[in-house]
Amino acid sequence: MKVRARDAKEVWKEEFESSPARDDGIETSTISGIPLQPLYTAGDRPRREEELPGQFPYTRGIHPSGYRGRLWTMRQFSGFATAEETNRRYKYLLANGQTGLSVAFDMPTLMGQDSDAPTSRGEVGHCGVAIDSLADMETLFDGIPLGDITTSMTINSPAAILLCMYIAVAEKQGVPASKLGGTLQNDILKEFIAQKEFIFPPAPSMRLVVDSIEYCAQEVPKWNTISISGYHIREAGSTAAQELAFTLADGMAYVDACLERGMHIDDFASRLSFFFDAHIDFFEEIAKFRAARRIWARWMRERYGAQQERSWKLRFHTQTAGVSLTAQQPELNIARTAIEALAAVLGGTQSLHTNAMDEVLALPTDRAARIALRTQQLLAYETGAANTIDPLGGSYFVEALTDEMERQAEAYFKRIDEIGGVIPAIEVGFFQKEIADAAFRYQKELELKRRIVVGVNDFTVDEEEPIDILRIDPRLESQQSERVRDVRRKRDQARCTNALQSLSRAAAGTDNLMPYILDAVRAYATEGEIMQAMIEVFGTYTETAVV
């Protein structure tokens, strides 16, 4: 029997090779450049023990029941203009069946600045909501019971401040911190690597991350203290394997930092969460998600000696690839997003954001945001994709690609170790250069039409139909600036000044800074003031630009 099977494959191979091939010059490797066979068979998959969902190493999923037990959380990232307007959008999304909130902050908030700072000009409320103090946060969650929903906050350098604001709003609603559920992005390493929204140098940045993880382990036990993110690494131009490897390497760097603090691995590991991109190369993405779980489980159990199963399980959020969207024929973005979202679902994501078709032009309109959410509902309820756990498990192709992703990631871990770890690799620009090289290679392939983006370098139309986009009222900036000045006028100034001075003193020592930040937040110190109190001690970071 075996001999006949081999013969059959040889026959196929001969027939394949004698068949005419397309000569359009289009790459047959994955979008990341992994060469692909035209066919995978049993021989491409080394025999391994049967893997099952809910069992180590979780390649097939962390839950024994997959989506039969619970669907993924549909969590649309949203925020723009003022806290009032964003609060209205949240209520609209919740009324339309969204199951969790995800806050997008504007650039000044992300960079720890108040709306009235000179360098905030032109930026207030544009790519997210403007939050300057607890007063804005109270408005943002007005009428939304924080004990009943979970909230994700995409914030990094000032993450500790925004988490304290959330805790303080909950206090005012009468919800204790121990009941709060949600996720803080809080991943500073990928900022140095890819998105570049850093403020402090690496060492104090890592201290703040560990402070928040340590504090939450005690006080906010249901909170995901960090969302270790590959998304931004991928969007900056990395390959899928680089996204996987750099993200997991970052994860291990956080684990190392927490262990150094004296924490026990099983006390914090299960609150670490991940965030990946779902790009357009369907099978490569599914393989990436599967490999991520397998690698993390192995490292947590074998290298770090975690005893509890929940410490081994990699949980992740996914966002479809913003970078795959096109300004040309933007309606096509609905199709792209649906395919990417399906890859995330087949890869076993815990939560998902689907991009709106117009996000390549501006923040989404209500209509575009609804279509994006409906795409997830369609996947969940129409396609049947949620009925069977890891439906591509056992596919010769997907299994082989999963192994290849794992192999490439391990090779990167070795290189990062040789450089001396993640932070030294950041300081010498290793990640930045790898990503820039990959981005440039891809762009060249587009120029040469070895890869096609429909509507961009082929299948174009002469006249693009204009689509409606969301506009931010230019008066908003002065209104928000006035609002923060009003907060400064009305607060108990002595209490606020004391809290900020205590924070500065603590920053110079070794105390966990979370309680000090929380005090400053409660005293209505603004985000910019709290950051400044820490900048005085920590200083700021400038990267050497590598082209």
């Binding site: 000044p108 300004a327 501006a362 630009a545």
Partner: protein
């Protein structure tokens, strides 16, 4: 044979505003360098004043601006205004990023010579510079 005295056009490329999305600016900088131009990349979070300082110090003829945060209507014209203030209006300004069509028209009126939006082939940017500076040596 072209005279060696003719220097390639110098271009300062800069990220203005607060966002750190530098994929586009780096890809464009490399492509312009490969095309034979002298490219100086300023790095992130440049104020309009810093960009003009860099352009004057480097004796650049062109400033290329990149932004993804939506602050282009404020910051691009601010660079043009700063050039006027410093009497350096011979330096031309172009830009790229997530910029809607209506804004492009408005920016051109305010002195930004050219805007390239997502999906622009790198060759289009090079071709535009070739037309704009036909005497610059190029590869």
């Amino acid at each position: 044979m072209p005279s060696t005295a003719v220097r390639p056009v110098r271009i300062v490329v800069a990220k203005v505003g607060l966002d750190g999305h530098d994929r586009g600016v780096k890809v464009v900088a490399r492509a312009l360098r490969d095309a034979g131009y002298e490219v100086i990349y300023t790095g992130l979070r440049q104020t309009p004043e810093m960009v003009v300082d860099a352009a004057l110090q480097e004796d650049a003829q062109v400033i290329g601006l990149s932004i993804h945060s939506g602050a282009h209507m404020t910051l691009f014209p601010a660079v043009v205004e700063e050039l006027k203030r410093r009497k350096a209006t011979d330096i031309i300004v172009f830009g790229g990023g997530i910029i809607p069509d209506d804004d492009i028209t408005a920016l051109k009126k305010r002195g930004v010579e050219k805007i390239f939006t997502p999906g622009t082939p790198l060759q289009d940017i090079v071709d535009w510079l070739r037309k704009r500076f036909p005497d610059s040596p190029a590869k």
